[in-house]
Symmetry: C2
Subunit: 308 residues, 2 copies
């Protein structure tokens, strides 16, 4: 049995896992990473935890996925707002603690690669992964390889402009895909509508406990038949259909995989998404693309990192 | 000296050229292809012309660029509206006439490849070519190779949705990039504005000879200072900036090259385009992308085909 080691480094914790050759987590641990940790200290803590998990086992490679702008070739974290890091040579720092190669990549790339290797048919060579979480991210696999672009910044589907006069995004622009399909904006929109008296079964909940309004609740109410909640999901699906339609035109993938909390609305999003996608795209590429909601896999970031 | 042979097969003529190793046309000829030619007949005529140009010279490969939906792997023209062809096994037909390999690809891909090989710095690995002609097309070079996608349909940037309620496109959808940046739609928009009494130096020309209103005239009037004409180009540049911004987010290319008649408006488009692009995209990818108007090269289709 051969093993791989993955580190998924976010702004709250670093997940570390020993992964077997079938992509299953054998052992895992976490290291806290909140409060803008000193890079050298966090790197040492991660390395120590890795060696504890390894327990003498030999590995060929350590893969690290980091939330931020990564220089893949040099293994440098250019900027990570969540970690408060700038120009951190993470690869070099970790390399000193291991007798094997260390690969540092963006966390969305790592997750996309994990999905590609564990949830997508082997015949697929070109895939878009879209993460619909708090924000919206993505990763591309082209010709069977993770595509990183000129500076390792590829795959940022969440900031494609859908309407330049739309809602203000955290990035400073307006109308990014994330402002339609990211959880924060979705919940904000729903609360605004409810505050303006929108008729919905959510109205009662909004008046008593507005903080309990989440995407999960919104999908529950939609499934119970609330037409407003259904409309909200239909809007998300429609805008995703337009965005993915553009990507189908440009890079003609065989597979699109949606993941993250928002994607768990499944059919509520997928039905309108496919309707828009079929309406907008050409026949040949649309006939050959499969749009799929990923199986829930909370460890995909660390599994993907281990498979880098 | 080694030679290559290219065929650029459009709905009016097939351009055929013998190209040297530096990508220069040595000899060329055309074969008429209008009026929906019988595939076998046109293939034979092209092959005969090729042999006449070759005059006994040996070549390793014949490259063919065809306007239409091409199955690159099998060398089949799935659909070419301009030629009136459906499921034509062009590679097989031509292969019989040559003792070398025949490559059949989409004409936009061929042109993009030609630009990449002749007008782009060698260090560039990821490039988007956008052809702003009668319509709007494109081609992608990723990791130093022409990227064709799952069914050879990649690179159709002209049909990205910019506004789903926009102008009706020839493809049947509304608000495609082509309806903002393609010559037919651009001229139509200008004439509509002038018919509605838009103040402009073009008004006099519109009243006496409306058929002389072309993108070239529009750029001449803009350069003379007509504020309406300047505004039209600014709009084209702005929408292109939004579309290319989305592609920078997703593909993170080092180079974007604009070609075709509309691109010859140069600064009139490029200045507003870059302004929008810089406003919309993240710092790292935008710092590393060069946006460039291609040198005029009327034979790029056939040169690119020869280099496939």
């Amino acid at each position: 049995m051969s093993y791989r080691l993955g580190i998924d480094l976010g702004g709250t914790t670093a997940k570390i896992a020993l992964v077997d050759e079938k992509g299953r987590v054998v052992k895992s641990a976490t290291v806290p990473s909140h409060g803008f940790p000193v890079p050298q200290v966090l790197a040492r803590q991660c390395a120590e935890t890795c060696h504890r998990l390894l327990d003498g086992k030999k590995i060929k490679r350590v893969g690290v996925g980091v939330a931020g702008d990564i220089d893949f070739d040099r293994g440098v974290v250019r900027v990570s707002p969540n970690l408060g890091w700038k120009n951190v040579p993470l690869k070099k720092m970790l390399q000193a603690s291991f007798r094997c190669d260390v690969i540092v990549d963006n966390d969305a790339n790592a997750a996309a690669w994990g999905l590609y290797k564990t949830q997508v048919p082997k015949s697929v060579k070109n895939m878009i992964a879209v993460t619909l979480g708090t924000g919206v991210g993505g990763g591309l696999v082209l010709n069977g390889e993770l595509y990183r672009g000129g500076t390792g910044s590829a795959g940022e589907v969440g900031h494609m402009t859908m309407d330049e006069n739309g809602r203000l995004c955290n990035c400073g622009n307006r109308g990014c895909l994330e402002t339609y399909a990211g959880a924060i904006h979705l919940v904000r929109r729903v609360k605004e509508d409810l505050a303006q008296g929108q008729r919905s079964s959510l109205q009662k909940i909004y008046k008593t406990a507005p903080e309990t309004i989440t995407p999960l609740l919104l999908s529950q109410e939609a499934r119970k038949g609330d037409s407003y909640a259904r409309k909200v999901w239909a809007d998300v699906g429609h805008v995703l259909g337009l965005a993915l339609g553009n990507l189908v035109y440009v890079f003609n993938p065989e597979f699109i995989i949606l993941t993250g909390g928002i994607a768990q609305a499944k059919g509520l999003i997928l039905t309108p998404l496919l309707k828009t996608l079929r309406k907008r795209t050409f026949k040949t590429p649309i006939r050959h693309v499969n749009v799929h909601v990923a199986d829930e896999a909370p460890n995909m970031g660390v599994i993907g990192a281990s498979l880098l």
